[in-house]
């Protein structure tokens, strides 16, 4: 078993689609929180296979997209400091800040390097001991434990020149904000499979217990998504609300306790600034006292005041209240090669996905 091809079986998919059609009797809006789900839904044409009265809404689950301009501007300002190296995941390079991007800064000669793993940041810091190395730490719970491991190792190895620009986000508080939104009606959540590998299901219980909505932690292959949708529809038709797991091969109720303990060894919950959703309590992290010396926000750097393109709808798209097709910039001015907003930059961004597959 390779755990991929088996979950792309056409015959089983057809059977599941029939079952979905049989089960679903009323119009529903389901939100796939994770951008990786949005990509899979478009890639496999899943929207077109479902009955028309089932709407799938793309949510805010793209870490690159939700990173606010102020943090990108800070990274850019830091890159202009003497003897400073910025290390970042590749997707952040093209994201436009208020007046520049990391890619433009690199073209202008700043030392900005793309890494694949947080551990690469340690290697670069060791190789550049005379320089200040700043890791642009973005990501949801899937990535946060890997960043925590890098911080723990940096401390352990007494690396004095590695710092972190923390712009990580926690998913569950953002779901509270979406459920409280008056502009949006969500009948159920397709919950992110890999975030939940770390979190488990307990942090999502409020969805069913406080808001009476069903939620299903779902995998990313076509059969996973179809089964996840069917499980949500079944709950809705049975007038039930629970948090269930479809993606059982890697998600357990308790999550990954080792990974969670790494996160909370370094961080405690703090406020998070989300593009589109604004400031959400407890949706980010702050460094615990013993690791504060690695927080780059302690640096005294002049950063330009953040500004965004007035016509970019990325913020509304991230909340599921606007489709990229409603944006005047979409495809005409804003394209992957010339992105105006981050939702067009990231491979997981809703605008990028619409551009590629719609």
């Amino acid at each position: 078993m390779k755990f991929i091809d088996e979950f792309r079986d056409k015959e089983i998919a057809e059977g599941l689609i029939q079952r979905i059609k049989k089960t679903s009797t009323r119009p529903v809006q389901l939100m796939e929180v994770c951008g990786t789900h949005t990509v899979a839904i478009f890639r496999y044409g899943i929207k077109g296979l479902l009955p028309e009265h089932i709407t799938l809404l793309a949510g805010p689950g793209c870490p690159v997209c939700v990173t606010p301009n102020a943090d990108i501007d800070l990274a850019i300002a830091l890159s202009r400091q003497k003897d400073t190296v910025i290390v970042t995941f590749g997707d952040m390079m093209k994201v436009p800040g208020s007046t520049s991007s990391l890619q433009k800064e690199k073209a202008d000669g700043r030392d900005i390097r793309i890494i694949y793993s947080s551990l690469d940041a340690l290697k670069i810091a060791k190789e550049n001991s005379g320089k200040t190395v700043v890791f642009l730490a973005i990501g949801f719970e899937t990535t946060s434990p890997t960043i925590a491991v890098a911080i723990l190792r940096a401390k352990d190895e007494k690396l004095r020149n590695l710092f972190f620009l923390d712009s990580q986000k926690r998913v569950p508080p953002a779901l509270v904000a979406l459920l409280q939104s008056k502009q949006l009606k969500i009948d159920g959540f397709i919950l992110p499979g890999h975030v939940s590998t770390i979190l488990g299901t307990k942090p999502y219980r409020f969805i069913s217990e406080d808001f009476g909505r069903p939620a299903v932690v779902t995998g990313f292959e076509p059969l996973d998504i179809l089964q996840g949708v069917w499980m949500l529809l079944k709950q809705i038709e049975d007038n039930r609300a629970a948090v269930e797991i479809q993606y059982r091969r890697v998600v357990h109720e308790e999550g990954n306790p080792t990974a969670l303990s790494k996160i909370y060894e370094v961080f405690e919950d703090g406020e998070g600034h989300w593009r589109g959703l604004g400031l959400i309590p407890n949706s980010g992290y702050r460094f615990k006292d013993s690791y504060k010396e690695m927080d780059v926000r302690n640096f005294d750097v002049d950063v330009e005041p953040p500004k965004e393109h007035p016509e970019c709808l990325c913020g509304e798209v991230l909340q599921g209240i606007k489709s990229p097709l409603e944006c005047r910039l979409f495809k005409k001015v804003c394209q992957p090669e010339n992105p105006i907003g981050p939702c067009m930059v990231s491979i997981e961004g809703t605008c990028h996905t619409y551009f590629k597959y719609q």
Binding site: Q18, P63, V149, I198, V250, A259, E348
Partner: protein, 74 residues
């Protein structure tokens, strides 16, 4: 890269907390810091150079069996 992408890989060698894994015929080294209790021959989910969870083959089979039954019972 896709930020929350996780791909399954088969462990072919373990040395301390680093595992050599096979991902679709390509071999790479990953950290086991977040998923220490694994053995050679098992599959793990890989994210940005880390194993983040063991892939449970029994659960995968059960899910597939259930899906086959569901598809047949229409």
């Amino acid at each position: 890269m896709i930020m929350c992408l996780g791909i399954p890989g088969k462990i072919i060698e373990i040395e301390k907390n680093v595992a050599k894994v096979d991902v679709g015929g390509v071999s790479r080294d990953i950290s086991l810091d977040l998923c220490p209790d694994v053995s050679v021959g098992e599959y793990v989910l890989i994210h940005t150079g880390f194993a983040i969870q063991k892939v449970d083959e029994e659960e995968a089979k059960e899910t597939l069996d259930l899906l086959k039954q569901m598809a047949k019972a229409i």
